[in-house]
Symmetry: C2
Subunit: 221 residues, 2 copies
């Protein structure tokens, strides 16, 4: 059928990987996301990853040459997903709709992919040793593109004058906070371990903060 069907026993796909290869790589990456996001790169061990993947350590290292290679694979897979909400900002929309949607998408990411968020946070906190290039090139370029849109809205008087890039920082930090610092959020609010009920109130807060006027000044009514 497809390209390289040399080895008789191993039925290969077009990607050159057998079904079992893909399954095992997926199992490893899933387990590694658990462990890396919970303990950071140095705190994670191949023993725990192998254990969570129900696989022996040497077998795990048959699929990925090193611990670092697993980590890089996770980060690389993550980046596209991570940037999707920002990419979705349209120049032909209006500030309230576009920024509002962006905040909702980012907050949904935080709620749905907290492990990915913490993996990313750990990497940045460690000085971005693996994705420094990505930050300086791809992310920087995307931010400049979207900041130009926001700047146009500012110039048109539809938003308060501010540095659009710092507005993006504020959106990133407030939304990701609920994933990265969830332990603190839950402890302060008195919630249990798996409780994510605070996300509804968080969404209201961020709407008020970014789309409304938080503080009434005398005579502004």
């Amino acid at each position: 059928m497809s390209g390289n069907a040399k080895s008789p026993a191993a039925v290969r796909t077009v990607a050159g990987k057998t079904r079992i290869q893909k399954e095992n790589e997926t199992r490893i990456l899933r387990a590694a996301l658990d462990v890396f996001s919970e303990s950071g790169f140095h705190g994670a061990t191949l023993d725990r990853i192998a254990s969570e993947a129900s696989m022996s350590k040497p077998n795990l290292l048959y699929y990925f040459k090193s611990k670092e290679e697993i980590h890089v694979a996770l980060l690389t897979d993550l980046l596209d997903v991570w940037l999707a909400p920002l990419r979705a900002i349209r120049p032909d929309g209006n500030p309230v709709d576009e920024i509002g949607s962006y905040i909702r998408r980012k907050l949904d990411s935080s709620r749905s992919f907290p492990r990915e968020s913490r993996l990313f946070a750990n990497e940045i906190l460690a000085g971005a040793p693996h994705i420094g290039d990505f930050l300086q090139t791809e992310l920087k370029q995307l931010v400049e593109e979207k900041a130009a849109i926001l700047q146009r809205w500012i110039d048109e008087g539809r938003m308060a004058p501010c540095d659009p890039r710092h507005l993006l920082f504020a959106i990133w930090s407030t939304t990701q906070h609920y994933a990265d610092f969830s332990v603190q959020v839950r402890h302060v609010l008195g919630l249990g371990a798996g409780d994510k009920s605070y996300y509804d109130e968080a969404a209201r807060m961020l709407d008020t903060l970014f789309l409304g006027q938080l503080i009434s000044r005398p005579g502004s009514d």
Copy 2:
């Protein structure tokens, strides 16, 4: 003079520690803050801490029984400093002044103590294994106390209705972001390693966000 002057050679202070003890402990803690904040708990090694403290590893372990004990000492020292800005919010002030001052103090903390901020972030991200109790008791209580003040301002119509605790989360995340994610901030802005010039623009952004109205709605002028 003071309490226990038993040992002849070692001149002790009221705290029961010789001058050289205090000096060495300070040197160790300073070096440990560097290393822990840069590499996290598991990424840090006693070798590097000892080296940065210009001290042999066994000598370092003469002052602190274990790596964890150094880490806990740093976190404990940090907590009071960390909460000082929040404690300073006065009930008899007005929202703009009090929240504005709080944001400035938090942002100053971020700029002046980025290593402390990253140490804290690493601890939370790891699930707060050492300061979970603190978060659930002391921090929770303080937040409730200050949230009550904010709630009163809301009830008096001086602030938009919102969950005050989530407002505090937003202030924490936006201000600490500039320390914890400084690598990303600098890479996106195209700044060099030690460059902290973005803090001025950050202060303006946070003023606009928390104290002004970010987005003009039609007819609100």
